[in-house]
């Protein structure tokens, strides 16, 4: 299987910094948001700094990893480039042909966005074996290079740049940062970016897809956990490369229910006036949970809002339906 050139960079903070230098001209520097009422509503009254990656190009942090991955391809590889999701936009901006394999239950806005960015979509059944065989068939037909969505060093470095930006933007040093975990690109990247800063790193995972939290308890990566949650971006099992980074560098992955996610999401819509998808509300749900509050962390907390891509033609999750 044709994959991008192996990264020459070590799994550490300076690799995230190198990625940041390269992608800075390509990405949005997303703003940070604060809310005195949301801060005051927490028992610990921590100042909160929300990093609004829902305002990133493509509506999610994914654009960071996709941009960096594309930047690392050789010219020969670029001429047969390929990918999924935000990569379609990064590819479009460079005039590279992009092929996307998507599960056939993907939400319509996500499908529409990929099409609008000019990518060619091949649909597959929504499970790992179907995805792998469809991917192999597309690669055989097109000769395209596969760019993994989370289980790759370059992707992890790219995603970690969100924390570097947040640390530059926050007016005071953070005591902790919380990021959601699905495949683990964002959380592993965040953990690498936090190295040596003294910022404690936490993950947030939905109870209905808590393979990472279970894996951490058992000391081995789990792939066999069923994923049933409104946080569609966090259904993926954590990746092979991602898991040991999280194991080593993340203090704890906090598990939150779909109800806690929906509540946090509604508060963010109301108070921050931001459209946040369920996955994007998971980190704030974790900060609001007793599990986090009981840690007694003093000082400012960073919260990464991972994305805002939601099908608005459906009822909102707190209005009865999912």
């Amino acid at each position: 299987m044709s994959t991008p050139s192996p990264p020459n960079l070590a799994l550490n903070r300076s690799s995230v910094q190198s990625a940041f230098e390269i992608i800075q001209p390509l990405i949005h520097r997303t703003p940070i948001f604060t809310s005195s009422s949301l801060s005051a509503s927490l028992p610990g009254q921590n100042s909160l700094y929300f990093k609004a990656e829902n305002l990133q190009k493509g509506g999610a942090f994914k654009f960071r990893g996709a941009s960096y991955s594309l930047s690392c391809l050789t010219k020969a590889e670029l001429e047969k480039g390929n990918h999924a999701g935000a990569l379609a936009l990064a590819a479009k901006e460079r005039g590279v042909k992009c092929y996307v394999v998507m599960p056939d239950n993907s939400s319509q806005p996500k499908v529409d966005a990929v099409r609008a960015y000019g990518a060619e979509i091949t649909f597959c059944e929504p499970n790992a074996p179907a995805r792998a065989s469809t991917l192999a068939a597309v690669q055989a037909r097109t000769g395209a290079t596969f760019i993994p969505p989370y289980d790759a060093a370059n992707t992890i470095f790219g995603q970690g740049t969100a924390l570097l930006e947040l640390l530059e933007q926050a007016p005071e040093p953070l005591a902790a940062v919380v990021a959601p975990v699905g495949g683990g690109g964002l959380l592993a990247g965040t953990a690498l970016a936090a190295e040596g800063t003294g910022v404690r790193v936490f993950g947030a995972e939905p109870a209905g897809a808590d393979d990472c939290a279970q894996g951490l308890r058992e000391g081995r990566r789990r792939e066999d956990v069923t994923a049933v949650t409104i946080a569609d971006g966090l259904r993926t099992p954590v990746g092979v490369l991602n898991f040991p980074i999280i194991q080593e560098k993340v203090e704890r992955v906090i598990v939150v229910s779909d109800e806690e996610i929906a509540e946090a999401m509604k508060l963010m819509w109301e108070r921050l006036k931001l459209v946040v998808e369920p996955s994007g509300a998971a980190a704030f749900a974790a900060v609001r949970s007793p599990a986090f509050q009981d840690l007694g962390i003093k000082g400012p907390v960073g919260i990464i809002i991972s994305g805002g891509n939601i099908d608005l033609s459906k009822p909102l999750p707190w209005n009865g339906q999912k």
Copy 2:
């Protein structure tokens, strides 16, 4: 009736600039948003600069006028200060007691917000005579000073500061700006702030409450127009002081249907990832309308998103119900 000290300032741009100097430390400098996909979707492909007053304190531009009005009260008047809406927050920040008269069909989040800011609410029936008599009774009981929500020079100057900020923030000169019109504080203020800049000023008004557009056609202010629209912030008839300013300085008030407002609102939620209330989407609806596009304006257009206070426990307006 006890009212604030009459303003000593003329109805012109420099009065808006004076207001801006005074309230700058009190208000949020709200960010501007752009969207290449929304710009590209217009026939004229104008660059669009959205001024996000939904991110203002209290969730709407109203905080500007309220802050400036409070700043203009004498110390004696401040000790018996009073008002409605965003004023409750401005009053709270200065430790002034605030009395609010609200229609009894006000949305729950608006009521909750006023209460959270510590104001004392008296409800009245949702019509002008009931509001006036309740206001008079509250004033008689408390001795409080009445601060008008839109029909006052200081309020108009305060609201006009949103355009001053937008002009500073936009990276290129604007050809035009569009603001919604209800009572007319924001639109009249915007028109004053645009004086001498060459920026053409347009209003946006819902078809179900188009008293200002009708009044402009007939050359006299209309107060007898029924108000039936999803844009609850724009149901108020245009004010006595506001109308002649709009008549003189606004090129045209563009009327948009509730369907056009809901469509514009959905696009803004999807593409800008911002929670915008129906009134806050009216200006973008106007820009998308044939009436505006047929003007053939070349160059960048500013759009004022007036607010983001919406009851999220109800279905969204494009999902069937109002």
